[in-house]
């Protein structure tokens, strides 16, 4: 038998780090994706290193410096690049610290929602049968609620003012922020996980007919192994793109909750809350609303464009 494979010249396998670097290189070819990535990286950088930036204290209220327009100095001589809010706090500092709050909670919420959604989807898709029916039914019930109503119901029923919230805050001695944050995560999980589950289920239904799944079954692998090791890694392509988009929606949702005063408790800066603070001053509060609104849109736009770019690359070749 002649050797068929002697002269194959495939590139040597790259290490993990190199592969990541290579895919970033690929992203460079999508201008749209690159623009999105720059926006997202900007906010991530801010969120990570905001402590090191020469900013004013976001919680410090300067007397006599309420509602300053942008690029003005307060009586103490400090420069407020974006002006101040109705309590005399520096808008720039609040915006930057707000990035940390928003990104932390939205990423955490997305990760939790995704984990649960993926588990639901992969089991429903792979096991099928009555299990699939149950999961899909539960998902459909949650998706049938208007999202806002669902969020309102969950947060008012279990929020800080409810018995559960009181118990968590008083008896367990948990921080107020953590109580509200975890509630936001629960609310977002309920509204997002069924959508994720639906996508994963669809992909898995397709993937499970592949021969390598049959091969795994034939060698007697456990269903858990097949789902986690054989199926999920192959669903990652579309899921990464979707996760980017989903993170954007979650950011909007968190901002919305903040705007409705159902989000994180004051005084920590929260973009949605900042807009709502400005809103009550009408036209005079325009400066207070403009910056957080811009921040939200730029971050969400960045994520959407990044998702577009990733999709463009994944479809190519």
């Amino acid at each position: 038998m002649t050797d068929v494979t002697a002269e194959t010249a495939a590139p040597p396998p790259a290490s993990g780090l190199k592969r990541v670097w290579k895919s970033i290189g690929l992203l460079r070819e999508s201008y749209v994706g690159m623009f999105g990535a720059v926006l997202v990286c900007f906010w991530v950088f801010i969120a990570l290193f905001v402590d090191l930036l020469p900013l004013q204290d976001p919680l410090a209220q300067v007397r006599g410096a309420q509602m300053l327009p942008m690029l003005t100095e307060d009586p103490t001589g400090a420069m407020h690049w974006m002006g101040t809010d109705d309590r005399g706090r520096d808008m720039l500092a609040r915006l930057m610290y707000g990035a940390r709050v928003v990104l932390f909670w939205s990423v955490l919420a997305t990760v939790v929602a995704y984990s649960i959604g993926m588990l639901m989807g992969v089991t429903a898709g792979y096991r099928g049968g009555w299990w699939d029916e149950i999961i899909s039914f539960i998902g459909n019930v949650f998706l049938a609620f208007p999202q806002i109503v669902l969020l309102l119901v969950i947060i008012t029923a279990f929020g800080p003012t409810s018995q559960l919230g009181m118990w968590m805050a008083n008896d367990l001695g948990l921080d107020k922020t953590i109580v509200s944050g975890s509630l936001i995560i629960v609310a977002i999980t309920f509204s997002t996980a069924p959508q994720v589950a639906r996508i994963v289920r669809g992909i898995v239904l397709d993937l499970k007919t592949r021969d390598y799944i049959a091969a795994a079954e034939v060698r007697g692998e456990s269903p858990l192994y097949i789902m986690l090791v054989e199926l999920l890694p192959n669903a990652r392509g579309p899921l990464i793109v979707d996760a980017c988009l989903r993170l954007g929606y979650v950011i909007i949702t968190i901002a919305l909750l903040g705007f409705l005063s159902l989000g994180l408790p004051p005084p920590d800066p929260d973009w949605g809350k900042m807009i709502s603070d400005g809103r009550q001053w009408g036209y005079n509060g325009l400066n207070m609303m403009l910056w957080p609104a811009l921040a939200i849109s730029s971050l969400v736009l960045g994520l959407n464009l990044l998702a577009d770019g990733l999709r463009e690359i994944s479809l190519r070749d």
């Binding site: 038998m1 002649t2 050797d3 068929v4 494979t5 002697a6 002269e7 194959t8 495939a10 590139p11 040597p12 396998p13 070819e29 592949r210 021969d211 390598y212 049959a214 091969a215 795994a216 079954e217 034939v218 060698r219 007697g220 692998e221 090791v229 054989e230 890694p233 192959n234 990652r236 190519r316 070749d317």
Partner: protein
């Protein structure tokens, strides 16, 4: 039938492709798909284009339709349809021609019919749009055409949606649609690949008839040589974007000149090939990617007759073959190769002694329950129906034996495999492996040893490996799972051993599946199956998705390992040629029943079961000397949901006796030696059957010698030429004596040429003409001869900017070695005075800027990248 078309002149070619080059533009630059392609189709002629995947045959079809998509373009040559250059036609004219004067039939019939429209609407549309026919007239002519493509009950078909008719009928509708406007040219791109063998035979029969009945010229694209032989007059063999051989079917099949064509014929299992005495010879290596083609002959790196300094020096062109009008070949050495001497020596092996019975299947049954929720079912109380996927499967397999399970889709062969593997449990009967009942033991209840001793090779190489994990880790997982390897180090060692076993380099362990070719993936699949000391390996169509030249290598490997490990192989297939070559025993299945089983020789010679007889006759054989009985089955495969009463085959059986076939399940007749047939036919009828496949000088003993895989065997073919009188092949006038004479002549010239060749490479080059010599002198460094001086002397006057040359004699095939440079860019560069990569290697930054200004095409690929590649090429020793 149709409105009178301008009467085609008998002497004007319907289609003329002259030096056509087609490229695709991608991020990587210009990717040449087809280079220097010539083809002439005369009225009423059928031309076959054959080649492996990626050779550019479908691209040719798309180019003829002028339907290349956004990033494809015809970059050179011209395509003339009825004497008019198609490139000068407007979009309007092209639209008018497509579908009316040139029609195309695609591979997947379901994808070419609109599932939401009635067949009648889709057919009428053609006539109404192209000819402005009235509704009634269109309907009348559509029905006529459906009748002409031999569809039973055309009116019913007209009022059906595509999903309501079977695959074979769909393809007939597509052909009818293509023929409706009475086209001059019909393009068929693998029209039967998606169909079952017996259905395919019917469609092929129809296609054969088209040019006779409608006077339509045809271009038939296929990877199957046998189909081309049955349908075409002329054939073009393509390899890696080029036609390498062209001629009449007879010339190419009997007197093939190109080493690739010969390699193809050596690697397909023709009757007479035997895996012990006369094994198939695969072509080594693999198809180069379009932008990584070698210099000179594209087949060079895989060719056994490759000669350094001759084959890899300059561009090759199609040359007419002396003494064979109409045949041409793209090979510089075709006259000198002595095929007799050069006959590939495959390693012969002793036949294997079978051991004790390993696997016994006794009356195995597998029914699937289907819930019928319809009202009538509820009323009658029959809410559960059964799909009888397997009914009374009964056979046994011995150690080291290969048992083939043959059948068309829906015959239950895959269900049987599932029961074997424990993915399903049998409804009745027994499956006994080494004395242990496993038919009702699902895989999760089997011990690791048992699971390991019963493994499977899967069909689709692109799905058999998980794309997310490295090859090594996937094999290692199997080893750990079966308890063969105890720890990581042990597993790694065993992975290496298994890779050695399937003849893959050890560093493949770290690769991802996408870095492997189809054949390589299938090898990994085999390694995985044999990882756990398997006693029985079930191979489900392991090679049907691979290219023919790779098929031979993979089947060879599989049998080698089987021989070495004395494994029992259950080989599931629909391809009787492969089965004949591989199997010791054959089980023929139809709709869940075993129709016939026995030793391979008994199955392939009479008496046959009528189904086996039809199957045998349906398989296209790429050998002109074979005379085949012609049996085309009526109708399509019945659905296993609703099988016919009595004998399952009775609805299509050409030998049906009468009512008894419809009422009673036939008895199983034992003809001795384990040969069993399930049929109502009398013994006299069975014994009086004639062989379906007759070989020249047919005696059972002569079978093995009527060598299909050697040149000499092929020359004998002329003796059987008369047998093929039914084929419209313009035959070479000279019969047997003539071909033998030419073979001798060939041998003589071969010797003459071979003598000086041995004395030195330079001499060989000189015999190839002065053009070759000069090209060689420029690109091959002779001993102690500074080649740069020569290049420098030819340098153009331009002092600033890159050095430029005037056109060298005998163009070296240099620039295409740089990936991203295709014929178009090469032409542009040549015009600018660049002929060698050595020139490009010397470009400076400034030169690049100057060249950039002069180039019209500005891809994303940087010119720096060209220089980098050119430098790498210049460093490499030539011709390697």
């Amino acid at each position: 039938m149709a409105k009178p078309q301008p009467a085609p002149d008998k002497n004007t070619p319907v289609l003329e492709c002259k030096d056509v080059s087609i490229s695709y533009y991608t991020r990587a630059g210009e990717i040449p798909a087809v280079v220097d392609f010539n083809l002439t189709v005369m009225p009423g002629e059928a031309v076959g284009i054959v080649g492996e995947s990626g050779c550019g045959k479908s691209t040719v079809a798309l180019a003829i339709m002028q339907y290349m998509g956004k990033n494809g373009a015809i970059v050179g040559g011209e395509i003339k349809f009825m004497g008019r250059d198609m490139r000068t036609m407007s979009q309007e004219e092209l639209r008018d021609i497509r579908g009316s004067r040139i029609s195309m039939v695609y591979q997947e019939p379901m994808a070419s019919l609109n599932p939401s429209m009635l067949i009648s609407e889709q057919l009428n549309e053609v006539l109404i749009y192209h000819e402005g026919a009235s509704e009634e007239e269109a309907t009348r002519r559509s029905i006529e055409m459906l009748d002409a493509v031999r569809l039973p009950d055309p009116e019913r078909v007209m009022n059906s949606y595509p999903h309501q008719i079977s695959g074979g009928q769909q393809q007939r509708v597509v052909i009818a649609m293509a023929l409706l406007s009475n086209p001059q040219l019909l393009l068929l791109d693998e029209p039967t690949t998606a169909l079952d063998v017996t259905v395919e035979a019917g469609v092929v029969e129809l296609i054969k008839d088209i040019s006779k009945r409608f006077g339509t010229s045809m271009i038939y694209i296929s990877h199957n040589l046998g189909l081309i032989l049955e349908t075409c007059d002329k054939i073009a063999v393509m390899y890696s974007g080029e036609a390498v051989e062209f001629g009449t079917v007879k010339q190419v099949f009997d007197e093939m000149r190109h080493p690739y064509t010969r390699g193809l014929f050596n690697s397909i299992p023709l009757p007479g090939a035997d895996r012990h005495a006369r094994p198939l010879v695969p072509i080594r290596g693999q198809l180069p990617l379009p932008h990584e083609r070698p210099r000179g002959c594209n087949f060079g790196p895989r060719c056994d007759h490759f000669r350094d300094g001759l084959c890899n020096v300059h561009e090759l062109h199609m040359e007419p073959v002396k003494g064979q009008p109409g045949q041409s070949v793209r090979c510089v050495r075709y006259q000198e190769i002595d095929w007799e001497k050069a006959r590939p020596k495959a390693v012969q092996a002793e036949p294997v002694e079978f051991g004790p019975v390993v696997l016994q299947v006794k009356n195995m049954q597998k029914y699937y329950e289907v819930n019928d929720g319809s009202i009538s079912a509820l009323l009658t109380g029959k809410t559960t129906k059964y799909v009888k996927a397997n009914e009374k499967i009964d056979f046994e397999a011995r150690e080291a034996e290969t048992v083939a399970i043959v059948g068309e889709s829906g015959c239950g062969k895959s269900t049987f495999a599932k029961v074997m593997m424990g993915l399903e449990t049998a409804t009745g009967g027994e499956v006994i492996l080494n004395g242990k009942e496993i038919g009702r033991l699902p895989v999760k209840d089997r011990s690791p040893q048992l699971v390991g001793s019963l493994q499977m090779v899967f069909q689709n190489p692109f799905e058999t490996l998980n794309p997310s994990h490295s090859v090594g880790s996937q094999i290692a997982r199997v080893l750990r799972k079966f308890g063969v390897a105890k720890n990581k180090e042990d597993a790694r060692q065993k992975v290496y051993e298994l890779l050695d076993l399937v003849k893959l380099p050890r560093d493949f362990a770290l690769r991802r599946p996408r870095q492997l070719s189809g054949g390589q993936k299938q090898r990994v699949g085999i390694a995985r199956a044999f990882g756990g000391e398997a006693a029985v390996v079930v191979a489900d169509e392991p090679v049907s998705a691979l290219d023919v030249s790779v098929q031979a290598a993979v089947t060879g490997l599989l049998t080698d390992i089987q021989r070495e490990k004395r494994t029992t192989l259950l080989f599931i297939s629909h391809d009787l040629s492969v089965v004949r070559y591989l199997a010791d025993r054959v089980v023929v299945m139809y709709l869940g029943q075993i129709m016939e089983q026995g030793n391979t020789d008994d199955i392939f010679s009479p008496p046959y079961h009528p189904y086996t007889e039809a199957l045998l006759s349906a398989v296209p054989i790429a050998d002109t000397s074979i005379k085949k009985k012609h049996i085309v089955l009526e109708g399509d495969l019945p659905s296993p949901m609703n099988p016919p009463s009595g004998c399952p085959f009775q609805t299509r059986c050409p030998r049906k006796i009468g009512a008894i076939c419809e009422q009673e399940l036939p008895p199983v007749k034992d003809l001795g030696n384990g040969h069993r047939i399930m049929c109502h036919l009398d013994d006299d009828v069975l014994n009086a059957m004639e062989p379906v496949i007759a070989m020249p000088g047919d005696k059972p003993a002569a079978k093995r010698n009527a060598a299909a895989s050697s040149g000499s065997g092929r020359s004998k073919a002329a003796a059987a030429a008369a047998a093929l009188a039914s084929m419209p092949v313009p035959r070479a006038e000279k019969p047997a004596a003539g071909t033998r004479g030419s073979a001798e002549k060939r041998r003589a010239t071969g010797k003459k040429a071979a003598a000086p060749t041995r004395s030195g490479v330079a001499a060989a080059a000189s015999s190839a003409g002065s053009a070759g010599t000069s090209a060689r002198a420029q690109s091959t460094p002779g001993p102690g001869k500074p080649k740069t001086t020569k290049v420098a002397s030819a340098m153009a006057v331009a002092k600033s900017g890159p050095e430029r040359l005037t056109k060298p004699q005998g163009k070296a095939d240099d620039l295409k070695l740089i990936s991203g440079v295709g014929p178009k860019l090469e032409g542009t560069l040549n015009k600018l005075g660049f002929w060698h990569f050595e020139q490009i290697a010397r470009w400076t930054k400034k030169d690049i800027a100057i060249v950039d200004d002069e180039l019209s095409f500005k891809g994303r690929i940087e010119r720096d990248e060209w220089v980098k590649q050119a430098k790498a090429l210049a460093r490499k020793p030539k011709g390697k």
